[in-house]
Amino acid sequence: MGKKYNVKDYYCKHTTRCSTEGRKKSKRFVGHNVLKADAWDKVTGDAVYPDDISFDDMLHIKVKRAVHPHAVLKNIDISKALKVSGVVDIITAEDIPEVRQYGLIVRDQPVLVGVGEKMRYLGDALAVVVAESKEAAKKARDLIKVKVEELEVITDPFRAMEDDAPSIHPDGNILITHHLDKGDVEKGFANSDIIVENKYQTQFIDQLPMQNESGAAFYDERKGVVNIWASTQWLHDIQADVAQSLRLAKNQVRIIQPTIGGAFGKKEDVSVHIHLAIAAIRTGRPVKFTYTREESMITQSKRHPITIYAKTGVSKDGYLQAWETKFIGDTGAYASSGPAVVHKGMYHCTGPYNCENVRGVSHAVYTNNTFCGAMRGFGTTQAAFAYESQIDIIAHKLGMDPAEFRKQNIYEIGSTTPNGQQLNHSVNARETIESAVELSGWKGGNSK
């Protein structure tokens, strides 16, 4: 009990990675302020972002989105919309029977929801309107008539996990479950003097990059190549996904990255790309599609709201003994990065603190909310809210200074994480806490 981690000494003896000697500085960049090469274009307005791209003869796209968060599409009537002057094409699922679903990890997203199929959140696309002007496209979009059969809307992952909840996807509402097991938590709790158990809830957050999803596309018929200028964080994954979805070879899809106006994880997913490609191929003309801010908020990924149960055992001298956790992440209507985000959060359930006995389970759960995906931190930010709160609460119960309590349990070289990774270099957690204490002017103490 109360064992201090001293593997650091071992590593320091046997490796050069924690040398305390001054590091050699790179002469060119490291340690210097480097002017960013793209700054000149950006301060003059010359930088070309996706919506800045224009072609002669270019068409504009607007998408008719789901009218209900969980419903079967019974009928879609585009006859009135087609009559709007300036409308060139309106594409519905029946026009593209060969097109396949897409998705970052699990291909569960339809390009267009067809009659007899389900819309699973308000961002699902029902029809792509292509017109000579944005106004014509908007007008036509608003004239598309849709009939649906409404299903129960599931907005809460706990409801989604109940036996009688309707399945949003064919394989049930639990997208994926992960387990974590390290040491012996029963023993750990038996060795604990204080056990603190709490439930934490985080919320949806939009990454909110300044530039909305946007792109332009042109189909080079002679070469059979569709060129897409669109914002993305994963050029090659998007290329592969667009290609498989459209049943094209990868070399028939060129993704060209213009300047990107922020992303923070939101632009990892396919957004405008496939709709652009289809419209460009069908019309033979250059097309442009830019989401409005509302569309971006409704349609593209969010940070997962995660419900975190944390049970933490600590000895009275202030060493963590056991940590048991459960993560329930609302991944919304589609998987996106959800299978990775939620369990990554769980792997970080103890934060940067040593604990030998850890057990956890995580579920990423489908709901009819906007789908959740990547956002800076990728699940660990949600975890941080829980573990740092636990640490403060425990320090308070122990009557220990929370900074001291943290330092006493902090990762060092040689520590192992809950999923068994041994940290063998660049662990500066202690220094970080010391700096934070100094910079914040923290005076220490805790009232029990």
Binding site: N33, L35, K36, D38, A39, W40, D41, K42, V43, T44, G45, D46, A47, V48, Y49, D51, D52, S54, E135, L208, P209, M210, Q211, N212, T259, I260, G261, G262, A263, F264, T292, R293
Partner: protein, 161 residues
């Protein structure tokens, strides 16, 4: 309907509709795409331009109201080879990341420095309070405005950019 306005010192005649926004007029009709659209509702400041000496959100200006006006966009402030001191400062302080907010930030800075050549930090924050940046956390942007104030000190007044 047709209007005429002076954009970056040049008189332009443009065919518009009542639902053309000044932002659309600049970006689509005049090809001045340095002015950005982030929200379309005057919340983010990416579409900021200077119209008749005042800072405006060009997404909230009906184009017919711009008839006869004088508009300064980022393209009119300086060019790659001839940067305005504010643009220089944004480059030198590393205030630019994704860059989408930068044209608006720079024009808001210009308006601020035109009126108040030596702003305190609080005054800079107020002057830029209509412009959102999601990348930088603002610290370097404020540094940039401070640096620009220094650079512009003693230079001739710069009323028309």
């Amino acid at each position: 309907m047709k209007i005429s306005l002076t954009v970056n010192g040049q008189l332009r005649e443009v065919e518009i509709t009542p639902y053309t926004r000044l932002l659309d007029l600049l970006r689509e009709d005049l090809g001045l795409t340095g002015t950005k659209e982030g929200c379309g509702k005057g919340e983010c400041g990416a579409c900021t331009v200077i119209m008749d000496g005042e800072l405006v959100a060009s997404c909230l200006v009906p184009a017919p109201q711009a008839d006869g006006s004088e508009v300064l966009t980022i393209e009119g402030l300086g060019s790659r080879d001839n940067l305005h001191p504010i643009q220089e400062s944004f480059v030198e302080t590393g205030a630019v990341q994704c860059g989408f907010c930068i044209p608006g930030m720079i024009l808001a800075s210009k308006k601020l420095l035109d009126e108040n050549p030596h702003p305190a930090e609080e005054e800079i924050r107020l002057g830029l309070s209509g412009n959102i940046c999601r990348c930088t956390g603002y610290a370097k942007i404020i540094d940039a405005v401070m640096m620009a104030a220094e650079k512009m000190d003693g230079r001739e007044s710069d009323q028309d950019g």
